[in-house]
């Protein structure tokens, strides 16, 4: 008998097997009482509430959301680029700095980004109370570290021989560094900037659900009062904001030979750095630190954790990440492959957009209307939201791919689905899996959000510990979170390297 051989294509579909245990638990947990609510939620999507009052509220809330999202994005992308340079190989090679510092800064950034912005937000809110700045700071802290990784990865692609040739000219070290990194930095900004802006706006919405303000808070209040029509007005207006920012971003041609635009960006760059610095000082000196005493007590108070319970929470978080990753990887190719025609594609794209648009907590709360809280439900929520993101990437890559193989297979009379699988998807499978490896890093961090809402894993424990000001427990949970995220990032990094 022939041995089973796994290739990238089959590996992209295999994780869908997680749906077997997940589906079983979900079916056993169904309660029919909430179906009517769920139905109402769906119908309201086509019948949002439109009157003057709600439109004005939506505009005001969107304005707040955009401001928090935009400033978080601006600060995090600029400082992300700076930390990206400081954590890239090329910087240490040019300045002959010992590799120890390189490892130190990378480790520090890994810890910072291992904690989700919602966790930072909740933590900062506990210490400083709710204000506008908390939203920006909570997003900026992990985003700077995430962006720095993106920039550093792009800088690692600089050809070593170009470095040698510039180095051999024996120019000033800063001149050499600038000449080598200029284009990779600009290209990263061009390619990832819009995506990061979208992420920033989404994070602002999620933080809004936890009380920071903006459209997220309105969405949450509408959901709490089961006012689904109002909820959909906010969701659609959020969709308009995201689409509009995308259109405007694409309209600005980031041509690095355009002198005026380049000078404008440089001025914005320096103003942002200066402004951030002074704003940070202002924030530090104008906040009361009443609760900070509670934080310092973390070394004194004792924890009520049972070891077994704590290990179970960690185990649950890992399982939650694995199940969600399985759905996020396999669902998009499976659905696109099965419903492989133009009309279905449009519907899948709209559905994927909605999954990306609706904040994770809202998806979870909606599903909770007809299903009991469980790890599977949390995994399904996280998986579906991330499937919306992975499917966007898959569509983009498939649309820009050379279709000659597909056409050749179709001309041989091979079925549409098989031709798609072997003639189109098989060529994308490797890079798709590499992206999914990166995505699973984010999924691990996002378990915090579903944990807080859905009562699962470490996220739930974090919420509990924060509510009771049990700072030692908070610290332990954060260390556990960080450790899982760091180990996950290491494993995913290895997988990604083997795929690229």
């Amino acid at each position: 008998m022939n041995k089973l051989k796994l290739n990238y294509t089959s590996l992209s579909f295999l994780p869908i097997l997680v749906c077997i245990p997940l589906g079983y638990q979900l079916i056993t947990n169904i309660h029919f009482g909430g179906f009517k609510l769920f139905q109402e939620f769906l119908i309201s999507a086509f019948n949002p509430k439109i009157d003057n009052e709600i439109i004005i509220t939506a505009i005001n809330r969107l304005n707040q959301t955009f401001l928090i999202g935009f400033f978080s994005w601006l600060v995090s992308i600029i400082f992300g680029a700076i930390f990206g340079i400081l954590s890239s190989n090329i910087f240490y090679k040019i300045f002959n700095i010992p590799k120890f510092f390189y490892s130190m800064i990378r480790f520090f950034l890994t810890i910072i980004r291992s904690i989700h912005e919602v966790v930072w937000g909740i933590l900062l809110m506990q210490i400083y109370g709710i204000n506008f700045s908390i939203g920006i700071i909570a997003i900026c802290i992990p985003y700077i570290a995430v962006n720095s990784k993106v920039f550093a990865e792009q800088l690692e692609t600089i050809n070593y021989k170009s470095f040698e040739s510039i180095n051999q000219i024996n120019a000033h070290k800063f001149s050499s560094l600038l000449t080598l990194i200029w284009n990779p930095i600009i290209n990263t900004f061009k390619n990832f900037g819009l995506y990061r802006l979208e992420c920033s706006i989404r994070s602002t919405v999620i933080l809004g659900l936890f009380g920071i303000g903006g459209i997220g808070t309105s969405i949450f209040l509408s959901f709490q009062t089961l006012n689904f029509r109002e909820l959909w007005t906010y969701l659609w207006s959020l969709a308009i904001l995201i689409i509009l920012s995308g259109v405007i971003y694409k309209k600005i041609k980031f041509n690095n030979t355009n002198k005026i635009l380049s000078i404008f960006f440089i001025v914005v760059f320096f103003i942002t750095i200066l402004f951030s610095f002074f704003y940070f000082l202002f924030f530090i000196f104008n906040n009361n630190f009443e609760n900070f005493n509670s934080v310092s007590s973390l070394f004194k108070s004792s924890s009520n954790f049972g070891l077994f319970d704590f290990l179970k929470l960690i185990f649950d978080t890992i399982i939650l990440s694995l199940l969600s990753t399985g759905i996020a990887i396999s669902l998009p190719p499976l659905v696109i492959g099965i419903f492989n025609n133009n009309t279905s594609k449009i519907f899948i794209k709209i559905f994927a957009f909605l999954l990306r648009l609706i904040p994770i907590p809202v998806i979870l709360l909606t599903l909770l209307t007809f299903n009991n809280p469980s790890l599977s439900l949390a995994a399904l929520t996280l998986g579906l939201h991330n499937a919306g993101i992975t499917s966007k990437l898959l569509f983009t890559n498939l649309d820009s791919q050379d279709k000659r193989n597909y056409i050749a297979m179709r001309s041989l009379g091979i079925s549409k689905n098989t031709s798609w699988l072997l003639g189109l998807f098989s060529q994308q499978a490797k890079s798709y899996l590499a992206y999914c490896a990166y995505r699973s890093d984010i999924i691990i961090r996002e378990t915090a959000i579903v944990g807080v809402i859905g009562g699962v894993g470490l996220g739930w424990q974090l919420q509990e510990s924060l509510s009771s000001f049990a700072w030692q427990e908070v610290t332990i949970v954060l260390i556990a979170y960080s450790s899982i995220a760091i180990v996950g990032e290491l494993i995913n990094g290895k997988i990604k390297n083997s795929l690229t």
Binding site: S165, N170, A171, F174, S176, L178, T257
Partner: protein, 245 residues
């Protein structure tokens, strides 16, 4: 009078347990025009990399102006320039920006900044590009959109603009048509700084084509990382060539 510029003493270089250079001794004097001959993989590129200080030899001593590379300051290191076989241009920059990179050493950080923003002066760069017979229509084109021959000449212009005393060139005539080869060869061997009108005189060129040896004074033959001969060009005969090919 001792006019040795570059000296290799008993140089060996190992890479992944392969001996690429084997006890090489070499002196390059001021004004030498040297042709470096040898088969592909004989160690020509490695020898050039050792000469310009990019590669540290596993064993032996390299001296430039009677000092080891570690003892040289930036100004002294600048006196050596290299045209690499694989060109090593920055693909995302335009041809003129790449040529201007050759001026980074003699200018400050602000110049590098202006060069990237395209607001620096390209007058000098254009002058050298013209010398290399580059058409002005390609000046602001990105390197990745140029042909092999155009890239080759951009790399040559970038080296020449540095006005260094010692020019090392690794197969600089690749991708060039016969007419251009003559022009470029004259340019490399004269190696005159267009501003000071001084000849930097010392040139070492690795090449394959024997018909281009005419204007060189010395010929070095290398095989399996060992120098088999280092003679005047006029003394070169078939027996020498048989040793290395």
């Amino acid at each position: 009078m001792n006019n040795t510029l570059l000296e290799l003493k008993n140089i060996s270089y190992n890479y992944k347990n392969n001996l690429i250079l084997n006890k090489v001794n070499l002196k390059i004097n001021s004004g030498d025009k040297i042709a470096l001959l040898g088969k592909s993989g004989s160690g020509k590129t490695t020898l050039i990399s050792v000469l310009n200080g990019t590669i540290k030899p596993t064993q032996g001593e390299v001296k430039l102006f009677n000092k080891s590379f570690e003892q040289l300051d930036r100004k002294q290191k600048r006196k050596i320039t290299t045209i690499w076989q694989d060109l090593r241009l920055i693909e995302d920059l335009s041809a003129e920006q790449n040529v201007n990179c050759g001026l980074l050493a003699e200018n400050n950080f602000y110049f590098a900044f202006k060069n990237l923003l395209n607001i620096s002066s390209f007058k000098k760069a254009h002058k050298y590009m013209q010398l290399c017979r580059l058409d002005n229509s390609i000046y602001n084109k990105k390197i990745r959109s140029l042909s092999g021959g155009q890239k080759q000449r951009v790399a040559i212009a970038r080296s020449l603009i540095q006005g260094s005393n010692i020019l090392l060139a690794d197969e600089p005539f690749n991708n060039l048509d016969p007419k251009l080869i003559t022009t470029i060869k004259n340019l490399l061997l004269e190696n005159v700084d267009q501003n000071t009108k001084k000849s930097s005189k010392t040139t070492l060129v690795a090449l394959h084509r024997l018909d281009l040896l005419n204007d060189f004074d010395k010929v070095i033959g290398i095989r399996s990382g060992k120098i088999f001969f280092n003679i005047k060009r006029t003394n070169l005969n078939k027996l020498h060539l048989d040793k290395i090919y």
